[in-house]
Amino acid sequence: MVISPNPAVNSRQTVIDTLRRQLRRVADRNPFGVIGTGIGTIDACLPGGGLALGALHEIAPADFRAIPSASGFLLALASRALCARCGILVWPLTPDRRGAFGEPYARGLKSFGLDPGRILIVRCAQARDAAWAMEEALRIGATAVIGARATDLTASRRFQLAAQHSGTPIFLLRSHDDFRPSAAVTRWRVASLPSTRDRFGLLAGPRWHVALDYARGGRLGEWVVEWNHAALCLRLSSLLADRADPARRTA
């Protein structure tokens, strides 16, 4: 429903009705509310001003070697969801996932604002078990679910429906070469970038190139973001800002 710019076409009542209908449609989309990413320009692109709770979000690395960066961005988003509500984060691990870059390390998770004590790790022998565990977790009790396995369209629809039902967000780490369709509400692509430096020239926080490839009801965009380990939040970053001039450093 579009409100015509010509005021003669719209009677007062139709305008109100149209607006109400639009409002309901927007409200229905996020009945559980949203969580802000902490960056205004990104939130502005997402419907409702943030990542929808009760929805499936997918994060893919730009290439194989960006898997740790994509995991980091995923955890940064998940930690926002955990901040908002109490409860437990369910994280199924399948053996084939361990091959790439190893298992999550609790002491490293802490610097992403996650309390490792609130993570329930579910060791699954097969991807099928992991999918079942994630769906169960979505239906009962979990605050957020992290999955590490690309799934087919049917499975992702099931996740999306279960998430809608309970209001629990689910974050999936897709493979970089997996272009199959999915029912995700947002899809992100993350690439590694050189870290920011502090004023002594030391590594300050990881920096990523984040692209919003798909957002249902939102706008797409690309940003360079950095994770601040001290403030435990995401920030926009520019490629050149705060970078010590190499010429001056050697001098």
Binding site: I88, A106, R107, L109, D115, C124, P194, S195, P206, W227
Partner: protein, 480 residues
């Protein structure tokens, strides 16, 4: 058919079936004699291990008559086996003692077993009557053990052969002959063990009884008129049993932590399904739900055969669970959590649900351990220096070029890929804990390294104490 075994003096017949007995075979004869007399005989070697196993299996099956059960074996005679059941409070389920005995006999006949059954007030009396009684079925009313036992031979008393022989020498052949003799001279002559057995049989002395299955404080039991096969029917039955348990648990303010559902198959096999729960619970619907998941997980092993004819639900472990007020608005979070752990655990196994627990050590691979899901580890006070997000299961060797022997890496090759180091920070030197004995302690110098494309790694150089030349490099983790 006869069963033979090699005993003192050669091969002897241990047991013979009815047709062999009709041909004149007597247990205890030498096998060679029997062979000479009777032509065609099916002779099998005795296998005491298999006998014992079969008896245990039968005992598990017979637990559908009474949960307090123990198999016994006569030491003096290798062919005598039996089961002792404590049927206190169980007989009414089968319409009294008569009905119970009839059903038990019927079922055993169905398996092809010939059984002699006796019910008496003491274990000793039931034992003696079952083995030496005139009838195949004997039910002795309480208090009449002495009269029932009097005509039986003394060998019915579960005593050693040598004691039987010396009693016979003195003309004491029946239990009635010794029942009234003064105990002190009897004990002096035949040993305290004999008097004990005698008094135990007569009910003048208590007899300990160690049942095969550990007793459960809460249990529910159902015997079905018709066997059931389908999973749905089993769940309906489980629901009925769980409903039966709930009031008792509620009354005592208890909740079940571990449950066991035993299903009795028509052919005598038993199937046990055990359940562990994260938190005490007495909600029948929840319990049945978990059993349903367990049955799903067992899909391949699940074999109903010709159906199940009885079932029992035991509470194996329990915890205090005070009666809670029904919540008006929302469920509490912790309840949700234990519900989740139960559901996931019943299909995937509780051991596969773990939480991360900090360990007080600076060795990176030992600093985090897996704890059971039930524990809630506290991370609030744990100081975490800069650590990678992902750790390799085991450190992987890397070829590293450094400008100085003790300097930071300038470039390295890992998994066949070459990385040019743009920035390196370190070293963070970690030494092995001195209280752990090591012949040659290895020191690690950790570097946080970033390559030109922005990939961040955690490398370390391993050095033997006092040996700077032979150092090796490893990649241990990856930063986000």
């Amino acid at each position: 058919m006869v069963v033979a075994a090699s005993v003192s003096g050669g091969w002897r017949v241990l047991a013979a079936d009815a047709r062999a007995k009709a041909l004149g075979v007597v247990p205890g004869e030498l096998l060679a004699d029997v062979r000479a007399r009777v032509g065609a005989l099916d002779i099998r070697e005795a296998d005491p291990g298999a006998d014992r196993e079969a008896l245990t299996k039968l005992a598990h099956w017979a637990a559908c008559f009474s949960p307090t059960i123990a198999p016994w074996k006569q030491e003096t005679d290798a062919t005598e086996y039996g089961l002792t059941l404590d049927i206190e409070g169980c007989a009414h389920l089968f319409g009294g003692e008569d009905g119970m005995v009839r059903r038990l006999r019927e079922r055993l006949q169905h398996f092809g077993l010939t059984a002699r059954i006796a019910i008496a007030g003491t274990i000793g009396a039931a034992h003696a009557l079952a083995r030496f009684g005139a009838q195949k079925i004997a039910i002795v009313p309480s208090g009449e053990e002495e009269r029932a036992l009097a005509p039986l031979p003394v060998s019915a008393l579960r005593i050693a052969n040598i004691q039987i022989a010396s009693l016979h020498r003195l003309g004491l052949k029946r239990i009635g002959d010794v029942a009234h003799l003064p105990r002190a001279p009897l004990a002096q002559r035949f040993g305290a063990g004999f008097v004990e057995r005698l008094d135990q049989a007569l009910g003048r002395m208590a007899e300990p009884f160690s049942p095969l299955l550990p007793p459960a404080a809460y249990r529910a039991h159902a015997v079905l008129a018709e066997p059931i096969c389908s999973q749905d029917h089993i769940l309906v039955l489980a629901r009925r049993l769980a409903d039966e348990l709930t009031p008792a648990l509620l009354r005592d303010g208890k909740g079940a932590r571990a449950l066991r559902l035993t299903l009795y198959r028509v052919d005598g096999a038993t199937k046990e399904i055990s359940l562990q729960m994260a938190a005490a619970n007495r909600d029948a619907a929840h319990i049945v739900n978990l059993f349903s998941l367990r049955l799903d997980a067992l899909a391949e092993e699940y074999d109903a055969g010709f159906g199940f004819e009885a079932a029992r639900l035991d509470v194996m472990a329990w915890d205090a669970l005070p009666p809670a007020q029904e919540a008006l608005v929302a469920e509490r979070q912790s309840d949700n959590f234990s519900l989740l752990v139960d559901r996931l655990g019943s299909r995937l196994g509780l051991q596969n649900l773990v939480r991360l627990k900090p360990e007080d050590t600076h060795i990176p691979e030992r600093a985090v351990v897996f704890a059971p899901a039930r524990d809630a580890p506290d991370w609030s006070d744990v100081e975490c220096p800069s650590r990678p997000l992902l750790m390799l299961p085991a450190a992987e060797p890397a070829e590293v070029t450094a400008l100085l022997p003790e300097g930071p890496p300038r470039q390295f090759r890992w998994r066949g890929v070459h990385y040019a180091v743009a920035h390196a920070e370190g070293p963070e030197r970690l030494r092995p804990e001195w209280w752990r004995r090591q012949a040659r302690p290895r020191t690690r110098d950790y570097y946080t390294v970033e390559d030109e494309a922005g990939h961040r790694f955690w490398l370390y150089r391993e050095m033997l104490a006092g040996d700077d030349v032979h150092s090796r490099w490893y990649v241990h983790g990856v930063f986000a």
